[in-house]
């Protein structure tokens, strides 16, 4: 079918050769990356194959969530670090992107002030705070998208892991971290737009954010980011480093007595995960057109955990499937029965914890194993008949 020779020559190829589900996932994502924009831009409206722009944006949003779920699965699924504050890294990446988009508005704001964003004019500020410097520059902003979550994760992780805060205690302080940031970003004097956040964006790199082409490009970039992040995460968990992570997850003190600096191993993966979450936030903001402190909400972070749990923890592709499936369900049910969605989400979580400990992926694997067993027992009979 596929010529495996091509794969064997590169390290990444060998990685994918051993990861069938991952190959399917990447194939689907790459196909979507090409076909969805094509069906939006080329197909005439009303055609059977036409994908409306709102669907493109919605799918792009799901992919950002998928990237965020991957980030969480990397630390929770493989190292047992249950972060209930991963939404914070996502939001910080989003804010960094939002600040750049605010600077791009220039004098097209309501007050027509080229120097200051609207909300600062409204607050009677006279000059730009120092921490907004540099966000005019796209590359500086993209650097900040990765750097800000990384620095927070590094400082937080360094303190927490060095003090050997683990398990539920770690979960609680990550939750406290995102809540503290939520309260901070709500304040007008922080200079991030208070409870309205940052919005009213016009364009990115000169391309209008309202145009279908820009939206399709953002969608394609989101799909590509999920693919690249998936390969990166797969490479990490397949290395010896990944096996040390699993050892830490399942036998932390054994790993210490083997001579591994557990805190360094945790810190590295925590920072990588925070950067991926930041990138997800940065892709999300131009597609939804707003970033506000609500993204720091503790509930948001808990939802990420639910996506991963429902998809299948510790598999990477499960995280992607879970994020897309749960958010599709959310879109559908919040439209059809808005009052019951949160109850449904809770029920889904309880059911998946009680009956599907390995999530959707676990159920599929189990079904395949059963079928394989049945085939194995039925083959000899067929042989006897012929």
């Amino acid at each position: 079918m596929i010529n495996t020779k091509i794969f064997e020559h590169s390290a990444i190829g060998r990685l994918l050769l051993a990861d069938k589900a991952g190959r399917y996932l990447i194939a689907v994502l790459l196909a979507a990356m090409v076909l969805v924009p094509l069906c939006n831009l080329i197909m005439p409206e009303g055609s059977f194959l036409y994908v409306p722009t709102y669907v493109v944006v919605l799918l792009g949003k799901y992919l950002c969530y998928a990237l965020l779920a991957l980030a969480l699965d990397l630390i929770w699924g493989y190292c047992g670090i249950l972060s209930l504050g991963h939404g914070a890294f996502f939001a910080l990446g989003g804010y960094a992107m939002g600040m750049h988009l605010m600077r791009q508005i220039g004098e097209r704001g309501v007050y027509g002030n080229a120097e200051l964003p609207d909300f600062m004019v409204f607050l009677n500020w006279t000059e730009l705070p120092w921490y907004w410097y540099g966000f005019d520059n796209f590359f500086f902003s993209m650097f900040m998208v990765a750097l800000v979550p990384a620095v927070l994760a590094f400082v937080f992780g360094w303190l927490a892991f060095r003090s050997r805060v683990t398990g539920v205690y770690l979960s609680i302080i990550t939750q406290a971290m995102t809540y503290a940031l939520l309260l901070a970003f709500f304040r007008n004097d922080m200079g991030f737009g208070g409870n309205n956040g940052l919005t009213d964006f016009k364009d990115i790199l000169g391309f209008s954010l309202q145009s279908d082409v820009t939206r399709c490009v953002l969608f394609a970039l989101s799909a590509l980011s999920v693919v690249l992040a998936y390969v990166l995460c797969r490479a990490i968990v397949s290395s010896k480093y990944g096996r040390v992570l699993v050892a830490i997850r399942d036998a932390e003190s054994r790993t210490r007595f083997m001579g591994y600096r557990v805190e360094h191993f945790k810190l590295f993966v925590f920072v990588v995960s925070a950067i991926l979450a930041g990138i997800a936030g940065a892709l999300y903001v131009p597609q939804v057109g707003i970033i506000n402190p609500g993204e720091f909400g503790p509930i948001n972070s808990i939802e990420i955990v639910i996506w991963v749990a429902i998809g299948g923890r510790g598999t990477l592709f499960g995280a992607v499937i879970g994020a897309v499936a749960v958010n599709y369900a959310k879109t559908y049910f919040t439209g059809a029965f808005p009052e019951v969605w949160l109850f449904m989400l809770g029920t889904l979580f309880v059911i998946s914890t009680l009956y599907l400990p390995k999530g959707i992926v676990g159920v599929v694997t189990q079904m395949r194993e059963r079928r394989a067993e049945r085939n194995a027992t039925s083959t000899p009979e067929q042989g006897a008949e012929s």
Partner: protein, 259 residues
């Protein structure tokens, strides 16, 4: 001296004692788990430590391996290294391997992968990310798996092993770590009689190249080890010597053997 020197790797002409504890005390909320404990293990020695529950055996292990810091007293490794200054990972890299009471292996990894992780080498994050196994390392892993009798289980998940096999795997993981001193906590707990004897033989085999300290309850196992015995009671040493001598001590009979 020559009876003690069992391996050329020990530099025993320089080192007087592999492990030296003097006047070590540790209390938890006023309870003295370790009370003025002194212990001296010579290079190449095989030492058994016995004592009733609560005698302070596990706390002693915790102090030596850096998990717990003593309130007072000296803990020295190879004469000059003050172990109280280091943490678990440092101490493991200095050359002290520890086997837990409950078998502790990584159940979701295979036997091979468990041994690979324990294999001596640098422990840095970057090295682990870009690690490639050399043929020499692979041979070493194969050898150790063979030594602990798990060759047929090489590719199996450690979680699927029996209790005794997990104990052996953990011992194998200790050996590839390349330690000078092995601390083994109740290796025969929960084993069948046959497994117990095999484990004693395995530890004697390992003792050819390593200094070994074994904490154990099982008297048959201690007999099979045929080594010097230290009896702990209420956090300090009650008696020390050959098993025949120690077991004749009336105090020992009273607090431990008689029960």
């Amino acid at each position: 001296m020559s009876a003690v020197v069992k391996s050329p790797g020990f530099h025993s002409d320089e080192i007087q004692s592999m492990l030296y504890l003097s006047g070590v005390t540790k209390s938890f909320d006023g309870f003295k788990a370790i009370n003025n404990l002194s212990l001296d293990i010579a290079p190449g020695e095989l030492r058994a430590i016995i004592g009733p529950n609560g005698a302070g055996k596990s706390t002693m292990m915790d102090i030596i391996t850096g998990k717990t810091r003593p309130d007072t007293g000296q803990v020295r490794f190879q004469d000059s290294i003050d172990l109280t200054q280091y943490d678990e990972a440092d101490i493991a890299n200095l050359g002290i391997g520890r086997k837990f009471q409950k078998p502790t292996v990584v159940e979701t990894l295979t036997v091979w992968e468990n041994v690979e992780l324990a294999l001596a080498g640098t422990r840095s994050v970057m090295r682990a990310l870009f690690h490639k196994l050399s043929a020499e390392q692979a041979d070493k892993i194969t050898d150790v798996i063979q030594l602990v009798g798990l060759k047929a289980k090489t590719g199996d998940l450690a979680g699927s092993l029996s209790h005794g096999q997990k104990q052996w795997l953990e011992i194998g993981m200790l050996i590839v770590q390349g330690p000078e001193l092995l601390l083994v906590d109740e290796p025969a707990a929960g084993m069948t009689d046959h497994e117990t004897m095999e484990t004693a033989a395995l530890l004697k085999e390992i003792n050819k190249d390593h200094t070994v300290v074994v904490v154990e309850h099982d008297m048959d196992f201690i007999k099979a080890l045929d080594s010097k015995v230290t009896v702990l009671h209420e956090g300090s040493v009650l008696a020390e010597g050959r098993l025949e001598v120690v077991s004749a001590n009336p105090r020992v009979i009273e607090v431990y053997l008689g029960r």
